[in-house]
Symmetry: C2
Subunit: 418 residues, 2 copies
C-alpha cells in the first residue's frame, strides 16, 4: 500500500545540521519510507494522500531513560534530599506495581501519554516485578511505543518491602525473558538498578545472561558524588564506577548508561571505546541538583549521547521540554565554565532527542529510506504570526512552545497511532 | 452581591509557608473576599454558589517583568548571542508596533493568553510607541489584566528605525500620561529601557516626572557583564549601575529592577534601603546565559523579590513554568556554590510568583479580606492517582505539571474572566 504525507519536513541528519523540505511529500510503502520529494513523482499521484498542509513534520522522539513505575509520582517530592526522595516516594511507589491491576491502569495511561507527546521509541526501567513488567510491555506495544523495557534487578541495599533475593532475581529474570518471546516491537533489556543495589554475584550472572541471550543492558552511572563514593566503598578494587559494570561483562555496545554527570576523561574514553551510550537526563540532574553533565565534551570526544526524560527525577515526559531543558543545562554548563564551553543549539538538542536516540535502535537519520516511519506532525495554530516566519524559526519555536495538543498526528513503526 | 466558591484553597502567606483550607468556602461580597471558611456560615447559605468540587484554588499569578511587543518572537532566536538577538529580533519586532492594527491584533492575543495562563497582574514594558501602548493598556483592561504598563523611553544607542529624540520622548511621554487618565485598573509606569538607551538628560527628566506625577518606575539592572561594563563607560562617575538610576531620582519605593544577576552586596543593600523590588527572571537569565541571580541571598538580606517571565528573553508566559524555572535556577545556584546555598522550595517559588508580586500592588497575602479576588482554579484530571495524594502533594504537582487547559477558571479584580 502506497501512502503520501504532505507538509513541511525537518530533520537533523547530524549534530548541528537541520535539513528542511518545505512543502514536500513523503511517500510510504507499507508504512516504510520510500523517500521525501519536493514535487510528488507522477507514479505516486494516485496514492492515498494525507495533507498536513502547512504543518511541521518531524522525526518522532526517543526517550532512552525513564522509570515507568515512577510515573504516578511525576512532579512530586522535588524539595526532598535524594535519600528521602527515594525512601518516601520512589521505592514506595515502585512497590505498588506488585499489584497487576494497578500496573495495568497506570501503564496503559503512561503508554498513551508517551504517544500523545510524540515519543515512539524508549529504553525504560520497569520495577522488579516480572508480571508488571510484562503488562508494561504489552501496553506499550498496544499503544505503538517500541524499544526496550527492563525488569529491574536489585538484591541488596533496598528496603525490605521492595527487594529480591539473588536466587529470586535470577529465577524471575529467566521467567521474564521466556515470556518476552511473545513481543514483537518491545524487547527486553537487562537492568541492574545500579551497582549499589546489585550484589557482585548477581551482576556477574547478568553479564553471563547478556552474552548468552545477546541482550542489551541499561543502568545508572556517576550521577552524583555520594553515589560515586558509595560505589567506591562497595567495590574498592575498581578505580572508577564504570569498571563495576565492565568486570561483570555488562560494559559493551548497546549498553546504556544514564547520567554520566561526573564521568571523567577516562570513564568517557571507556564509553567511546566500548560503544556505550551516555543518556543525558538534564531535567533530572537539575531537579535532584546532581550536577551538570559534560555533554559538549562527550560529543567532542566521540561519545554517543542521547536523551532521557528520567521521570520521575525528571518532571517532564514531553521530549520537546526535555530538549529545551538540555539546552538550558548546557547554558548553565557554559556559565559555570566562565562562558568557555559552547551551549547546545536547538538543532543539536533536537538531534540528541531524535537522530541520536533512534540510531540506538539501528535507524538511519531523519526519515530513513526503507524504514518504518516514526514521525510527529505539529500544528502551531495557537502561536502568533506564523505566516511571517521561516521554517527554521517555526522549528525553533515548535521546540520551545509546542504543547501536546499541538502534536496533531504521530506515526510509529509505520502506523498512525495518534 | 454575595457569592460562594467551594474547593481546596492554598496560599503562601509568607516565604516558605503554605496554608491550606481543604474543602473550604470562599465568600465574596461584590467581588471582594469576606473570608475563607472550613464550614460555610449559616448566613451565607442562600448565596449563589460555584462548586469547584475537588479542584485547587490558588491566588492568581503576578508577572512583574515582561516585554509585550516581544510576544511575537517568543521561543525564537535562542541560539543567538545577545547583540544579534537584539538586532535581528528584538528591535525589529518592537518596531512593528508603530502599526496600530498590528498592535491591536497581537496585544489582544497577548492579553487573552495571560488570562488563560492565570496571570492577572503585571508590570509590563511596551514599545516606544504611545498609541500602541494605549492599545495595550486597553486590551489588558478589557481582558481583565491589571497593573502597570510603560511606554519605553530610549533616546540613544538604539537603531535608526527604532529610537526617539529626547524632545520627542518627553512630548510623547506627556501625551501618553494624559491619555492614561481614562484607565482604571491598568496604570502607567515610567520605563527608561535601561541606562545605555537613555541620555542623562532624559533620565533626569523622567526622575522629575516620577516625582511630579507620583509614578512608579521600572527598568533593567546588572543583567550581564558586558552591559555593566557599558554602563560604567557611559557613567564613569557612578560606582555602581544602580547609581545611574538613583542620581536621576528614579531609585525609590515602587521602583522595579529586572534581573539584578550581578548586584553585589552594596547594590543589594541599596535596593533594600530604598524599597526597590528586584524582579528575578530565571528563564531569561538561563536562555541568554546571563548568569544565576543570588535570589536566596537577596531574600535573606531583606530585599523584596518578585518574579518576571521576561518574555521574550524568557520563553515561558505561564507563571507556573516560570516558578519551576526559578526553582531550577536556584538549584544551579546551589550546585555552583558547592551545594552551600539552599535552593528555593516549591512553596517559596510560589510565594515569589503570587504573594510577593501582588504585595507590590498593595495586596495582602493570600485571599486578603476586603480585597477584590485574584484567583486561579486548577483541575488535575489528566494526572494519575490524584485521589491518593495529600493537598500539599497535589499543590506541588500542580506547579510542575499544570498546563493552561488545567486552569479551568480565573478571577481578576473580583470578576470571573475565564
Amino acid at each position: 500500500m502506497i501512502q503520501v504525507l504532505h507538509g513541511n519536513f525537518l530533520y537533523t541528519p547530524s549534530l548541528g545540521t537541520l535539513e528542511t523540505v518545505p512543502d514536500g511529500y513523503l511517500v510510504l510503502q507499507d508504512g516504510r519510507t520510500v523517500g521525501i520529494f519536493s514535487e510528488l513523482p507522477e507514479r505516486f499521484s494516485d496514492a492515498e494522500r494525507t495533507d498536513f498542509k502547512n504543518a511541521l513534520i518531524l522525526p518522532a522522539f526517543t526517550d532512552l531513560h525513564l522509570h515507568a513505575p515512577q510515573y504516578p509520582m511525576l512532579g512530586m517530592g522535588m524539595d526532598l534530599p535524594l535519600l528521602d526522595w527515594l525512601e518516601r516516594y520512589t521505592f514506595r511507589t515502585e512497590a505498588r506495581f506488585g499489584d497487576p491491576d494497578y500496573a495495568r491502569r497506570i501503564y496503559r495511561e503512561l503508554a498513551q501519554k508517551l504517544i500523545e507527546n510524540g515519543t515512539t521509541r524508549v529504553a525504560m526501567f520497569s520495577s522488579l516485578h516480572t508480571d508488571a513488567t510484562l503488562i508494561l510491555m504489552e501496553e506499550l506495544e498496544n499503544a505503538g511505543v517500541s524499544g526496550y523495557v527492563g525488569k529491574v534487578s536489585m538484591d541488596r541495599n533496598s528496603p525490605d518491602y521492595y527487594t529480591e533475593s539473588t536466587e529470586q532475581s535470577k529465577r524471575e529474570t529467566l521467567r521474564w525473558l521466556k515470556e518476552c518471546e511473545r513481543f514483537r516491537t518491545v524487547r527486553p533489556i537487562l537492568t541492574p538498578r545500579f551497582t549499589p543495589s546489585c550484589s557482585d554475584g548477581l551482576m556477574r550472572w547478568l553479564g553471563d545472561v547478556a552474552r548468552e541471550y545477546d541482550l542489551p543492558v541499561q543502568s545508572h552511572l556517576s550521577e552524583n558524588h555520594s553515589e560515586i563514593a558509595w560505589v567506591k566503598e562497595l567495590a574498592p578494587s575498581c578505580e572508577r564506577y564504570w569498571e563495576t559494570y565492565a568486570r561483570a561483562g555488562l560494559w559493551k555496545p548497546k549498553t546504556l548508561m544514564a547520567h554520566c554527570v561526573y564521568s571523567d576523561e577516562i570513564e568517557r574514553k571507556a564509553m567511546r571505546d566500548y560503544g556505550v551510550t551516555a543518556i543525558h537526563c538534564a531535567d533530572s540532574n537539575i531537579n535532584i541538583a546532581s550536577g551538570t553533565a559534560p555533554v559538549r565534551q562527550m560529543l567532542e570526544e566521540g561519545v554517543h549521547v542521547a536523551l532521557g526524560s528520567d521521570i520521575a527525577g525528571g518532571a517532564q515526559i514531553n521530549m520537546l521540554e526535555v530538549m529545551q531543558m538540555t539546552i538550558r543545562a548546557s547554558k548553565f554548563k557554559r556559565m559555570e565554565s566562565g562562558w568557555k564551553t559552547d551551549f547546545l543549539s536547538v538543532a543539536e538538542a533536537f538531534y540528541l532527542g531524535t537522530t541520536a536516540g533512534s540510531s540506538y535502535f539501528g535507524a538511519k537519520p531523519g526519515f530513513g529510506e526503507g524504514e518504518p516511519l516514526h514521525a510527529v506532525v505539529i500544528e502551531e495554530g495557537r502561536l502568533p504570526d506564523a505566516d511571517r516566519l521561516t521554517l527554521r524559526e517555526r522549528f525553533e519555536r515548535a521546540v520551545y512552545l509546542s504543547k501536546p495538543q499541538d502534536i496533531v498526528a504521530v506515526y510509529a513503526e509505520g502506523k498512525r497511532v495518534k
